[in-house]
């Protein structure tokens, strides 16, 4: 009796000791940040939406029923409203596999708008899954993958399935939104790298050297800041896209659509690095006086080693947060550029801004084709989600906001 009592109390003490040692074991910075971040519901939702959006853009070719620039001249399907999907059998009224009807088009005698009416006489066209459409082939995983013509869903012609309607030429908005995501979502992530490299290098150098180097670069930031950024963006984007401009001539660029895309990325990054450089400079200014930086210098470390190995890592949490918050700004700017027709080449790429441009073309009555505004929703969702994610990360890194 006494024996069992004793053994149980020994076990209790052992357990307590183990618990204590576990709780005393210190957590790494990234563990703490991750724990804090997980408590931030809004940021998690934002992150989730972003993952879905980026995956959708990645597999856009597979998920979309039509090609990016696929359309039919005659009969044209211009301004086709979103196709009605039927779930019930017209005779029995029971649920059946979803189907659509073919349509016939006519003109409204009053408004002269094109009107599409369903034509059940041609029969019901069931929505088929995993169909092959060689006329809308694409590359799996974007430009690096291999060609395929498999699509998640589709219907047999003459019926069409336009989930989000069509534009003036009859291009499927749903498919184009998926393709457009590739450009619109990628450009922000790429441009932020340009801004990061410029901001880190220039901010680091200015903060480390101080003196006239510092003065020069900080005045440069002020000068770029002094020009309204949209005008700077418009002017740079227009001029640099022209293959006859001196820079393109110097590097022998033909301004193919890939090069235009890269040029826009660089222009966006060039406009966005100023704020980053300024803050990194001031952080480096205070970090370089810290003992460990002085020690590294005294031990004979080279200047780049001190800057990149010892000083810049100290700015990491700030950099991560501000990158996350810069990306939505770049997405917005790219959308704006595409919207006024100065973005990536319209011939072989689509972006959400370009799609919104369709809604404002001359002679378009918005109230008769409101579905042309749908491409604005993913822009909004992407920017909102990046903002939520960035705010969550900022709170997670901030020791004052620990929960």
């Amino acid at each position: 009796m006494a024996d069992t009592n004793q053994s149980s109390s020994v076990q209790t003490i052992a357990r307590q000791a183990r618990d204590q040692s576990e709780s005393r074991q210190s957590k790494s910075q990234s563990q703490i940040v991750w724990e804090q971040f997980r408590k931030h519901t809004a940021a998690l939702i934002g992150g989730g939406i972003l993952i879905v959006m980026y995956l959708t853009a990645l597999f856009g070719g597979f998920l979309s029923p039509y090609g990016m620039n696929e359309y039919q001249r005659s009969p044209s399907f211009g301004f086709h409203p979103p196709t009605q999907i039927h779930w019930r059998d017209p005779q029995t009224g029971n649920f059946t596999r979803p189907f659509v009807y073919a349509v016939t088009s006519s003109r409204d005698p009053v408004t002269f708008q094109k009107v599409y009416t369903e034509d059940p006489s041609q029969g019901a066209f069931a929505i088929q899954f995993f169909v092959r459409r060689p006329e809308a082939s694409y590359n799996i995983l974007g430009p690096f993958g291999w060609p395929s013509s498999l699509h998640l869903f589709g219907v047999e012609e003459p019926a069409r399935i336009f989930l989000w309607g069509t534009n003036n030429l009859g291009k499927d908005v749903f498919s184009r939104v998926l393709y457009g995501g590739r450009v619109s979502l990628m450009i922000g992530v790429l441009a932020v790298w340009v801004a990061l490299i410029l901001g880190l290098a220039i901010g680091g150098i200015a903060g480390f050297y101080g003196g006239w180097v510092d003065d020069f670069f900080m005045r440069l930031v002020e000068v770029i800041d002094a020009i309204p950024f949209l005008f700077l963006l418009i002017v740079l984007a227009t001029l640099l896209k022209d293959p006859r401009n001196p820079i393109a001539q110097a590097f022998g660029l033909q301004m193919t659509s890939a090069q235009v895309f890269l040029m826009i990325v660089i222009v966006l990054g060039f406009i966005g690095w100023g704020g980053l450089a300024r803050t990194i400079r001031s952080m480096v200014l205070s970090l370089r006086e810290q003992e460990y930086a002085q020690a590294a210098k005294a031990l004979g470390a080279s200047v780049p080693r001190v800057i990149f190995r010892h000083l810049l890592p100290g700015t990491a949490s700030f950099v991560i947060v501000s990158l996350t918050l810069l990306i939505p700004g770049f997405i917005l700017l790219e959308t704006a550029l595409s919207f006024i027709g100065l973005g990536p080449s319209e011939l072989d790429s689509a972006s959400w801004g370009m799609l919104l441009r369709d809604a404002t073309n001359k002679g378009i009555a918005l109230q008769f084709s409101p579905w042309l505004l749908i491409p604005g929703i993913p822009i909004f969702a992407a920017i909102l989600s990046w903002n939520l994610l960035g705010d969550g990360l900022r709170d997670a890194f901030d020791p004052k906001k620990r929960r």
């Binding site: 005045r219 002020e222 700077l232 418009i234 001196p246 704006a336 919104l356 918005l366 909004f380």
Partner: protein
Amino acid sequence: MFSYILRRFFHLIPTFIGATLLAFLISQLVPGDFFTTMAMNPDVRPETIERLRDSFRLNEPVPVQYVFWMGNLLQGDLGLSFDSNQPVVNLIRRPIRNSMILVVLSIVLLWAIAIPLGVYSAVRQYTLGDQVVSTISYFGLAIPNFFFLLVLILMLFYLRSFTSDAFGWNKLLFPVAKMTSTNFESLNAWRQFWDIAWHAVLPAFVVATSGIAGFTRILRGQMLEFLGSDFIRTARAKGLGQRSVTYKHALRPAIIPFVAGIGSLLPGLIGGAGLVEIVYAWPGITPVLLASIGRQDIYVVLGFLVISTLLLIVGNLISDLLLAVVDPRIRYN
């Protein structure tokens, strides 16, 4: 105070020179020049083109061109437009005025909406109203201006079809394009002013959205910080009413970053008005800027860049000075 203004003013000169130099260098990226296109025209004699080139000093080296242009600029002469052969000043005066109408009105709207909202959600922290305001301001930060304007226009059309069905009221609540009505010329001065103001409400509100959203959030945070501080408790303990505590004691220090923010707001507003101007067909800077870029009319583009840069620099200066007036902690030396 005066020496502070003077010092700030002299500080602006290098920035202005740098910005104009940068703008001028960018304009050198223009492939060929305006007369390259003209030279294709067989009706124009090569001598004419040479004479025109000379008159614009296009044959001189770039630094000389810059000095020449800068010298004229200092005398208030922005050069001639290649395209219409008019002084640039005449061409850009009206668009700039029109854009300023939008920007000024949107700043007024920004203050008029953001301050009450921010104060409300700070005073009623964590209530339903506060949460609604916070959510809407998140949305306001994320929605692109031009898309928001398109959505609002669509809403107005829907509203019209609803009211015409329900009450036979077949008019749009707000105009959806342009700065003036078609019968603008026949109106008297007061009605003309009203007409423009009525047209400007929708685009100005749209331009102000992201600013409203951002400032509401900042003001809420600031107010919360001050409402929790000791001097507010003292004020309450002395028996001051809720209204006086909120508006006189907490709002005043909380508003300081607002004042400082005007300067940083201007580029966003001038730039942000850009796309809204295009969607709304508002005859402002951006549509003309785009057209002149398309025509390679360099001096008009440069004129816009210089004037908007100048506006921006002056705006920043004014907000710095205002800040010094509002915040007694800022010392001038």
